[in-house]
Symmetry: C2
């Protein structure tokens, strides 16, 4: 697609697209604080032809974590809400769940009890709800759920609990010739059905965790069945590994919000050209949630120390963002 992206950028310049976008402020939901200035300075550097920091289009790769970086992950990650809802929906077909944990507690609406088993309990519920169907059927299950489910605090669809400043940032990078990827611990098959509509990121640019699949013929039709077995965990050290496997370049910019993103930021930050690493720090208890060093599921602790040591950009949601979520849809 190199030629297409070249053409796009040439035409954007010819028609004044890039200039107009910049003149109109590409990041209107960001306060004029250091993080916004750092983003803009980076983009201007790498796109300025003839400058020593210029980066050719093919290398303008930016990777974004999803949970907590592009959308809200509190009070629980969205895929976990999906999992809990699916357990309830499938319960009539599984009478045995009434007497076995973590299902039994969940079916009695005891969420705390259901999650008491920690990662093992969550994996068990995921295996029970994310396998046993074709990838096409799973895609439809996710699409149907995400179209109707609502965030418990904001009472709006999860796809509207995305961060408006990050939507602007993703678009701004794309307008400057970046290819944008999601690199998330969440399931790639959970994100792909809606990521293009919400972020403009197509399925082939979504890298996530995955389960194993099996190629089968069903009535002469080839299908991929989802199996209850982990294929890949796209978290921590897995993020650079997933980036290498799927993207095959070292990104020049990476965006995260937890220690699970640290290795991705380290990996992106270490190339020979100008790089940009940014952490979203959840500091806004009033408009969203405040959590970082002490969180149990999405701790940002080592990451904050390393950001300080390396001069990475840290966004304080409270101080650096004018708005958190997009306007309510009519």
């Amino acid at each position: 697609m190199k030629s297409i992206r070249n053409l796009f950028v040439l035409l954007a310049i010819a028609f004044g697209g890039v200039t107009t976008t910049q003149a109109q402020d590409p990041l209107p939901s960001w306060n004029d604080t250091a993080p916004k200035k750092a983003v803009v300075a980076f983009v201007e550097k790498v796109t300025k032809e003839g400058s020593p920091d210029f980066v050719p289009l093919a290398e303008r790769i930016a990777t974004f974590d999803n949970d907590g970086t592009l959308w809200c992950e509190k009070p629980l990650p969205v895929q976990l809400f999906f999992t809990l809802d699916r357990v309830k929906a499938l319960a009539p077909q599984h009478p045995e769940w009434k007497t076995s944990e973590p299902f039994a507690s969940l079916l009695k609406d005891d969420l705390k009890g259901a999650l008491a088993g920690g990662e093992k309990a969550i994996l068990e519920m995921m295996a029970a709800t994310h396998a046993g169907m074709t990838v096409t059927d799973f895609h439809k299950i996710v699409s149907d759920w995400i179209a109707t489910a609502q965030h418990p605090k904001y009472k709006r669809p999860y796809t509207e609990c995305v961060y408006q400043p990050m939507l602007e940032l993703v678009s701004y990078l794309r307008a400057n010739g970046f290819k944008t990827f999601i690199v998330s611990g969440g399931g790639s098959e959970f994100m792909r059905p809606w990521a293009e509509k919400v972020y403009g990121i197509p399925p082939e640019q979504v890298v996530g965790s995955s389960g194993k699949t099996k190629f089968e013929m069903r009535d002469g039709i080839p299908v991929l069945m989802k199996l209850p077995a982990v294929n890949f965990i796209d978290d921590k050290e897995g993020k650079p590994i997933g980036i290498n496997e799927h993207i095959g370049h070292r990104p020049i910019a990476a965006f995260g919000n937890s220690d699970g993103d640290l290795q991705m930021l380290q990996y992106a930050g270490a190339g020979s050209s100008v790089r940009f690493c940014l952490y979203v720090d959840h500091t806004d208890a009033e408009r969203e949630f405040a959590y970082d060093r002490k969180d149990s599921l999405a701790k940002l602790d080592k990451g904050l120390d390393e950001a300080a040591a390396k001069g990475w950009t840290v966004v304080s949601m409270k101080d650096d963002w004018k708005t958190i979520f997009p306007p309510v849809k009519q």
Copy 2:
């Protein structure tokens, strides 16, 4: 990238790009036989807005096998020539190879003896040559090798032993809004260093077999080390699995040349919209190599039967292609 591709197609129309290309014959190296007519009819159908067969840009995904489909895989697959050359280059650091097979035979220039151990021997030589370095170092090793190595029969670089008619086809599809992917049994890290230059297909659109990697800090620099362990074999049932994992859509067009591509063609061929499946049949002993039903490494047998039964397009290289390779570079 949906918006970029939309823009590209709009502009191609505005500036007459697509029309001009078509008027100039986008497939000049193809004879005017049935395969060319079938390709053109397919592309015209899926790109005609308002027609019931119209396919939106986001779904215009085409996948190509590499060995034997885009470039020559005889007398041996190119990656095997690379492996053999690397064994020889690394031999001084491995005195033990003088007395252990398959290395010992190869180092005495007994290729037949080295390959006598079949797949096990090949995997052993690959593990010895494709691991123990960073992915960045491996990229450089491949780049250096491919820049100088020559095909034993044609005495030209392997990257010029690509099929001119397929180069035209890949470009023709892209000019019509398709996103083109390689889906090959070959190693993704072996193809990525040169695939963009040769086919216009960037690293992130190359899906192949892969070895495991490990994230490590070396002198404070994060690197990915290549380990001598298989991660994924992108062949047969692995091709649809790899497509789902990396691309996340069912392609609407797929191109192969062996039974190793059969499941990819079945998978692409089974969707609800118009589909296109094509086999390249190696029938040209004079200009290239003649092999299909009887070949040991790249048999096309079941695939030919299924193509006949399902009406897939089969290219006879001898009858349907005017030229095989690009003109010799000056």
